[in-house]
């Protein structure tokens, strides 16, 4: 005799993938708006390029795999991947960067592993890392915030830089990055890192023009935007609060310990929170339901591990920002974390469960 096992009949909420993805896309809007306000049109151009490229790549590979094209191509996952990638790119990177990155993310990282729900790595971050190690020059030429630029950067200038690498008036990327005083500006994280190697203290670095009054002109607001979007997602129950909380709390603890030991060589905790891709990573990348840990305990470890990696790479690594690398390394360890944090099944004792684990 066989029992037909169906899901509970009283469950009527049918969350479709596309609805969830749309919600997450809406939640990125405050951060994208802050990016647009402080850094100009560059990221919006890259987001559009990435979306087009991702959809074309998705169409191509779905037709190769003989899947249902209209359903899967517009489920929003490819678009979300493209948006996350477009957000993370330097605003004035050349056009082929976003096209190549999105195509790689969709074809290699997502679809070759079996499509949505089967990819072990976060596609957007894997695409970003591929770009970062392949094209270090283009991927590290970050544009300073608009208010510090000596050159007026209009929408057409931005387009022109992205497609021809010169503005309409003929300025190059190097000239855009140059401050009115004649020195090249970098991102706050990069500035702090370089200054530390030059023997300057954190307090001295904080006087740098790109950092402004708080933690970095523009960057603090972008992170605040993603924080707001993330809280909205938690409020809507689209993501679990454990991973972001664990990540941010652990990052706070690690940087706080370092800061109390040696305030001259370690940036403050808030500096870590509101710079780079911290909030974007915490709420939009680490919470990826496919490539992250699944149980509550597992998510705590997952977030803490990501925080440790972010802190260590930011402090000692070769790159100023670490979010993408940390995410990929955590994705890799997620199955192992899941294996050791399997929750107790109802009706089973703890010991029995542990025994099952060793036998498995």
């Amino acid at each position: 005799m066989a029992f037909w096992i169906a899901s509970s009949p009283h469950n009527h909420i049918q969350n479709k993938t596309s609805a969830l993805m749309r919600l997450v896309i809406y939640a990125t809007l405050p951060g994208i708006f802050a990016q647009w306000y402080f850094f100009g049109w560059g990221n919006l151009v890259h987001i559009s390029l990435a979306i087009i490229s991702a959809l074309v790549a998705e169409f191509f590979i779905l037709s190769l795999r003989e899947k249902k094209i209209p359903e899967q191509i517009f489920d929003g996952s490819a678009i979300l991947t493209a948006i996350l990638l477009g957000i993370s790119l330097p605003a004035l990177a050349p056009w082929w960067i976003s096209i190549l990155g999105a195509a790689f993310a969709i074809i290699i990282v997502k679809q070759l592993y079996g499509g949505l729900g089967h990819n072990p790595f976060n596609p957007a971050m894997a695409g970003y890392v591929m770009l970062l190690i392949s094209f270090p020059v283009q991927m590290t030429s970050w544009q300073p915030p608009l208010q510090l630029l000596a050159i007026d950067l209009t929408f057409f200038d931005t387009l022109s830089v992205i497609f021809t690498s010169f503005t309409t008036d003929g300025y190059s990327m190097e000239q855009i990055k140059t401050h009115i005083d004649g020195y090249t500006m970098a991102t706050p994280l990069d500035t702090v890192k370089t200054n530390l190697t030059l023997g300057l203290t954190i307090a001295e670095s904080m006087d740098s023009t790109v950092i402004g009054e708080n933690f970095g002109i523009g960057w603090e607001w972008i992170n605040a935007g993603f924080l707001a979007g993330g809280l909205f997602l938690i409020f809507k129950k689209a993501i679990d609060w454990v991973t972001p909380f664990s990540f941010l709390f652990s990052l706070f603890v690690f940087s706080f310990i370092a800061f109390t030991f040696s305030p001259d060589s370690n940036a403050s905790t808030m500096f870590h929170w509101f710079n780079g891709a911290c909030m974007l990573g915490a709420f939009f990348i680490l919470t990826d339901p496919v490539s992250g840990a699944t149980s509550t305990k597992g998510r705590m470890i997952f977030g803490a591990l990501a925080a440790l990696l972010v802190f260590l790479i930011r402090k000692y690594g070769g790159y100023p920002e670490a979010m993408a690398f940390a995410v990929l390394l955590c994705n890799m360890s997620a199955p192992l974390i899941d294996q050791y944090t399997r929750p107790r099944t109802y009706g089973h004792k703890k010991e029995q469960n542990a025994e099952d684990n060793t036998n498995a």
């Binding site: 290699i108 070759l112 591929m130 190690i133 392949s134 094209f135 270090p136 020059v137 283009q138």
Partner: protein, 235 residues
Amino acid sequence: MTNGAEYKELAWQGLWKNNPGLVQLLGLCPLLAVTTTITNALGLGIATLFVLICSNATVSLVRQWVPKEVRIPIFVLIIASFVTCVQLLMNAYTFVLYQSLGIFLPLIVTNCAIIGRAEAYASKNPVKQATFDGLMMGLGFLLVLFVLGAVREALGQGTLFDGAHLLMGEWARSLRIELYSVDSQFLLAVLPPGAFIAMGLFIAFKNAVDEKIKKSAPKKDAEAIERVRVNFDAS
């Protein structure tokens, strides 16, 4: 089995069906590490081919006198002596290539494709077949190296046969083809992860081709018992 068919089968096995690179996945370490350009790939591929032929022939020659218990050390000894020959030859005649191949040239000794063939085929078969097997397996390996090197070189720096004169002499300078010129290299193709990704795609491509061949092959109908139709009216 007639002699011709046997050689044909050996060639088919070495070049496609049981290709050491794509199917047996042997010798991946040099395969992935040195295939950044066609020249490097060819250099290592030819060296491996040479060692494989010689070691297969020698192993097959001495197969009657090698005790089973110590066969592996003896195979390794034979292979190592041929690798030393190749290494000294390349050191003498293609010095720059010798330097760019670096440690991977002496590491041919540990290439499992070679010892695999010695163990699986050469130690059980006569000299002629064993030598031919070595040639075909070596060619199969060389082919994979060549294609991988070509793809990585084309993607990574936009050229083909860059530095071919290091392997083939001054005339080969004219072989160099510049497909497109880039300001920045596509580093992924040059770095090891690119080799893994390209290799994976090749294996997928080979499997797809095999699948296609299998599908398009004429299906053998199950033998049905046919009744003889007897036409009574015709009598």
